[in-house]
Structures are given as structure tokens and as C-alpha cells.
């Protein structure tokens, strides 16, 4: 509770969003990661929870914990219904159907004037609440509780009979049926739990934001983030979405306050690209060594492209305020990692020194031409990595 001592409420505003993403990513992963059905409609379930709150706030005000339960029930029922309609579809078709559901729901809400329609709806929240104090701290604690609930649910599913059945469906649905797994029933359970958790995350949202409109409740961010976070963290364990949500969520919060929002998007997009190429099984998969760095940089073209792409955000971040500098570290680290892996592969271990050298030059204060030297170091590293081939391959081609 350091933030309470500091007396800065901002940390609660930012922390709330990160916690909200933990719930969304964990919820998505129960259907997407465990059972293998990609849901593009996360925003729809989130918005359902939020609009259930808006509706009740107007019709019959209730305390937020009750609204959370209501949001969970409504989103869970919609999840069940959507599952029943669409789960006979496999792969891309299921994903498209979930996207369609989000569009249909958004159109419905936009045209329903009782909950504000396209104008949006104001939700007046009190400034303080007894005995916690500032209302945002109350919301933060609620979301913290939801995150704990979501992670507990995910963790206990993973270790249960249900989790084994989900994994069997994800791996091979025909073989699962032949082994006695009631696949349709289990998939419906997965969509219901997943939808209910997303609705829970959405229920307190109108009180957090104060003014809710369809475009913010159905924002693409929710759909993209709730997919990207588990993917980046790793989808086979409850820890994956947690890691992904904390990393990407925190990064987005830092980027939002330090730099322009367009560069923010660029950073997140590039990180997703990095993760998909370097760690396709997520950070967890990378840690467990299911894929080695060698595989990633084995193709010189992949190395060069990835290297060049990661230089772009450094260029942009360099022109931003000083507060954005820490974000550069991430991309310098990726460059160092790439140079290290490629250098080891082609037997030139000094290659890793070039991006380190460049990073140091860009940090130390000095004459403005220093960045040219830094850029030169990166260019040398890029070209060396692209042109030079592994020694054994060279030996083979000369003999």
C-alpha cells in the first residue's frame, strides 16, 4: 500500500486497468488456451457486464459486488447461448462467429436508448466510500479480488478432470470423443465460465470510467489484449495470462502517460511481433526451453528483419520525452538478445557487443553526432548477422 502512503491515486487508476486485463486474459485463456477455441468477442462479454451495471444503476441501484454477480450471470448465459450456436464450428469459423456476436451486441446497445444508446451514459459515483476512503481504491480492491477469483478458477480447472478434458479437446476432438469426453458439454462449460469471468470484469467498469459509451465498452483493445496477453505469456498454464497481462498491461499504462498514444500502439504491436517470432509458445514456453534461441535466428533474413524492426521504436522513443527512455530498454534488450543468439550461431561472439555499445552511446550525454556512431554499430551488427554464415555451413560449401 505504498501508493496510499504516497497519496497518489494514479497508481490505483493504472493498477485497476492492469488487474482488469488479468481477469480478461485469464478468462479468454480458459476457452482459448485450455480448450483451443479462439474468441474474438471478448469485448462483447466485457461490455455486457458493463451495460448490465448501467442498466441496473438506472433501474434499481445496487452495490457493485451485487452488480458483479449480475454481470457474471448475464455474460455467462450469453456465453452458453453463443457456445450452443457456434461450437459446432471449428477453428477460424468459430472465431468469425464470436466477432459477429460482438458486432450484433454493439449494434443492439447503440440503438437501446434506455442505457444511453450512441450518446453514452453517465454513472455518478461517490467520491469516497467508508471505510476504505477514495472510491478508486474501493474499485481497485474489488478488481484485485476478481483477479484472484479468476486466477483461482483457472488454476483449479487446470488441475482437475475438467482441465484434462479441455486439453483433450484442444489436442484432438475426435480422439477426445472416442475416449468418452463429452466434447460439446465441456465446450459449453468453457464458454460459460469464460464469458462469466469477462462479464465480472466489465461490471465495475462504468463506475471506474464515469461515462460509458458503446465505442469504449466494445473497444477493440479488449478483444486484442485478451488474446495477445495469454499468447505472450503462454496459453497452457494459468501463469501465462498473468505474466502477459502484467507485462503488456503495465507497459501500455507506462506508454500512455509518457508518450503519444500512436507510438504506444506501435510499441505494443512490435512487442507482439517479437513474441510471436521469438517465443511462439509464450514466455513460459521460452523459459521451459521448448524452443531455443538458435531456431529463431537460424534464418539470416528473419534475424535481419527482426533486428531492423526493433530499431524503429528506439528511433521514435528517442524523440519523446525523457520519461519514455526506460521503454527503450526493452527494445535494446531484444537487439542484444538477437545479436547474442546470431553471434553464437555463426561463431562471432563479439557481435553481441555492438548493440550493447550502441545502447551505452545512446544513454550517455554527449555531442549530438554520437547517435550516428550508435546507428553505425547497429548497422554493422545487422549486416554481419545477415551476410556471415555459420562456420560449419561455410566449411561445407567450400569443400
Amino acid at each position: 500500500m505504498a501508493a496510499r502512503l504516497v497519496g497518489n491515486d494514479y497508481i490505483f487508476f493504472a493498477g485497476y486497468v492492469v488487474l482488469q486485463y488479468i481477469v480478461l486474459a485469464t478468462a479468454w485463456n480458459i476457452l482459448g488456451g485450455y480448450t483451443g477455441y479462439v474468441n474474438f468477442g471478448s469485448a462483447a462479454f466485457f461490455a455486457l457486464g458493463a451495460y448490465a451495471s448501467v442498466f441496473l444503476n438506472k433501474a434499481y441501484p445496487l452495490p457493485i459486488p451485487v452488480l458483479i454477480v449480475v454481470g457474471a450471470v448475464i455474460s455467462g448465459i450469453v456465453g452458453l447461448g453463443m457456445g450452443y450456436l457456434t461450437l459446432r464450428l471449428r477453428g477460424a469459423f468459430f472465431a468469425i462467429a464470436t466477432l459477429a456476436l460482438a458486432v450484433v451486441l454493439q449494434t443492439f446497445i447503440t440503438n437501446w436508448s434506455y442505457v444511453g444508446g450512441a450518446r453514452g451514459a453517465y454513472v455518478i459515483r461517490p467520491n469516497e466510500i467508508e471505510p476504505i476512503g477514495p472510491y478508486i481504491q474501493y474499485l481497485f480492491l474489488l478488481m484485485l479480488a476478481l483477479a484472484v477469483i479468476a486466477l483461482t478458477v483457472a488454476r483449479s480447472i487446470e488441475r482437475s478432470r475438467l482441465g484434462l478434458g479441455f486439453a483433450a479437446i484442444r489436442d484432438d476432438e475426435l480422439a477426445a470423443e472416442a475416449s468418452g469426453v463429452p466434447t460439446l458439454k465441456l465446450k459449453l462449460i468453457a464458454t460459460t465460465i469464460s464469458g462469466a469471468l469477462m462479464g465480472m470484469a466489465g461490471a465495475p467498469f462504468p463506475y471506474y470510467i464515469g461515462y460509458l459509451q458503446p465505442t469504449s465498452a466494445f473497444a477493440l483493445d479488449y478483444a486484442v489484449n485478451s488474446i495477445a496477453m495469454p499468447m505472450i505469456g503462454g496459453t497452457t498454464s494459468w501463469i501465462g495470462p498473468l505474466i502477459g497481462a502484467i507485462l503488456l498491461g503495465t507497459l501500455q499504462q507506462v506508454a500512455t502517460v509518457t508518450i503519444s498514444s500512436s507510438v504506444n500502439l506501435l510499441i505494443v504491436g512490435l512487442l507482439i511481433v517479437d513474441c510471436v517470432i521469438i517465443a511462439p509458445t509464450g514466455i513460459l514456453g521460452l523459459l521451459q526451453g521448448r524452443r531455443t534461441a538458435r531456431d529463431v535466428v537460424a534464418d539470416p533474413a528473419v534475424f535481419a528483419l527482426l533486428f531492423a524492426v526493433n530499431v524503429i521504436p528506439i528511433y521514435f522513443l528517442h524523440q519523446e520525452a525523457l520519461a519514455a527512455r526506460p521503454l527503450e530498454i526493452i527494445f535494446w534488450a531484444v537487439l542484444v538478445f538477437l545479436a547474442f543468439a546470431r553471434g553464437r550461431l555463426i561463431g562471432l561472439s563479439w557481435l553481441v557487443g555492438l548493440p550493447i555499445f550502441g545502447a551505452l552511446l545512446s544513454v550517455v550525454p554527449g555531442p549530438s553526432w554520437l547517435w550516428l556512431v550508435s546507428a553505425l554499430a547497429l548497422a554493422i551488427c545487422l549486416v554481419a548477422g545477415l551476410v556471415l554464415r555459420p562456420r560449419d555451413a561455410v566449411a561445407r560449401s567450400t569443400t
Partner: protein, 244 residues
């Protein structure tokens, strides 16, 4: 003996192609049946119709005295009808032992009767693994198994469901002579424990040493059904296999 499986006039078409054309087949409890036929003759389609993976447009399948029409594949598995797949289809992200836990938890424990405890499941898994010769491999991932071991896992998973009838769909393709003999011996041992077995196989040596009765499918029709020695000399069967 009463019939455990009764296939009555089952037909299946894919568009204009008739894959099965009025198949009648009766399998007695405790029997060892061989099912052969050239590629594309409808053997696997018949298995899929019996097991509920595909729905047959015409005809009925009775198993253990009850009609199977409208039952899903997992419901049929729970009633005691298990199959192995022609190409092994393990659950790749689960360990070998977990592959067997799926049918134990979802078939055996889904039936009425005493439930297996966690310790029972542990013991049963180990027992199944040693039965098919995969002891000590429980902790491995399926991708680390050889093709032979993958086929053994496929059989073990079907057996884990404690079936009354086991349909082994080409579980010996690509195996060496010794391995074929091992699997035939295993299947005969299982049969002696009371499991009725239908073996679908191209390896004639295996089929002839295993089967008490032989059924031949050609182009979706049953052209022979009887004692293996008689069936194999049937001129129509010879024509189907060797050409004119």
C-alpha cells in the same frame, strides 16, 4: 451366445459416392473377427458409423441389445464400444500417462458403479502401460515415442475405457514381424479376458492368425463372411484382391 454387435442394413454416402451399401454384420460376444478389404472399400467408414464418428443415413447399429442411433461417439464409448484410430491420434500436449487418464476419468468414472480414486487411476495407468509394453514411458510426451510405441499407446487408450468391444483399426501398419506378433498375442490375451475384438488389417498373416471369422468388404459391400480358410479361397475375394 447372443450377438453383442448387430449392424443392420447400414448405408453411408458421401455426396454421390456410396461408401457403404447395406452392410449387415453380427458379432457375438467373445468373438475375434477380422475385417479386410482393399483400400477405399469402406472399412474405416463402417468403423466410424459403428462408433458414432459418422452418422449413417440408413440402417441401425445395435450394441449390447440397445440401438445406437442418435447416440454420440462418447456415449457409445461409455457403453463399452472402444476403438483405436488408423493413424494414431494421441493428445500431443498431454503426457503418455495423462493420455490414458482421459478415458479412465471420462469413461470408466462416468459409468454407474464404483468410481476410481486417484490412487486407482495411478495403478490402472501403470498396469495398462506395462500391458502394452510402455512401462516407464508414462512421463514422456507422445512426440517422443516411436511409431510403434505410438500405436501401442493408441491401443492402451482404447483399452483404458474398459470396452466390451474393441475395434482395432489397422493398429499394425508399418510394424516389423516381431512387433506384429507381439500385438496379435496381446489382442488374443485381451480376448481371453472377455473382450470382443474386431481387427481391421492389411497384414494377412496377422489377420489369419488372429481371426475366428473373416469378413470381406469390397466397394462398400460385404462379399464374404465365414471361416478364414474358406473366405480366403473364395473366388470372389481372390478376384477383388488380385484382379482378374
Amino acid at each position: 451366445m447372443t450377438a453383442l454387435l448387430e449392424v443392420d442394413n447400414v448405408s453411408k454416402r458421401f455426396g454421390g459416392f456410396v461408401a457403404l451399401d447395406g452392410i449387415n454384420l453380427s458379432v457375438k460376444a467373445g468373438e475375434r473377427l477380422g475385417l479386410i478389404g482393399p483400400n477405399g472399400s469402406g472399412k474405416s467408414t463402417l468403423v466410424n458409423c459403428i462408433c458414432g464418428t459418422l452418422t449413417n443415413e440408413m440402417g441401425t447399429v445395435h450394441f449390447d441389445g440397445t440401438p445406437m442411433n442418435g447416440l454420440t461417439a462418447h456415449q457409445r464409448t461409455r457403453r463399452g464400444l472402444a476403438r483405436s484410430f488408423q493413424l494414431p491420434r494421441p493428445f500431443p500436449s498431454l503426457s503418455v500417462a495423462d493420455n490414458l487418464r482421459v478415458p479412465l476419468l471420462y469413461t470408466v468414472n462416468a459409468r454407474s458403479g464404483p468410481h476410481l480414486s486417484a490412487a486407482d487411476i495411478e495403478a490402472r495407468t501403470a498396469e495398462l502401460l506395462s500391458l502394452v509394453g510402455l512401462a516407464n514411458r508414462g512421463g514422456q510426451q507422445p512426440r517422443d515415442l516411436t511409431q510403434v510405441d505410438m500405436r501401442k499407446l493408441e491401443l492402451a487408450r482404447a483399452l483404458a475405457a474398459e470396452p466390451k468391444l474393441l475395434i482395432a483399426d489397422e493398429s499394425m501398419a508399418g510394424l516389423s514381424n516381431n512387433e506384429v506378433a507381439d500385438i496379435v498375442a496381446l489382442l488374443i490375451r485381451l480376448n481371453e479376458r472377455g473382450i470382443t475384438i474386431i481387427m481391421i488389417e492389411h497384414i494377412m498373416r496377422a489377420v489369419m492368425s488372429f481371426s475366428q471369422r473373416l469378413v470381406v468388404l469390397v466397394s462398400g459391400k460385404k462379399i464374404a463372411d465365414g471361416a478364414p480358410d474358406t473366405v480366403i479361397r473364395d473366388p470372389e475375394v481372390e478376384r477383388a484382391y488380385l484382379g482378374q
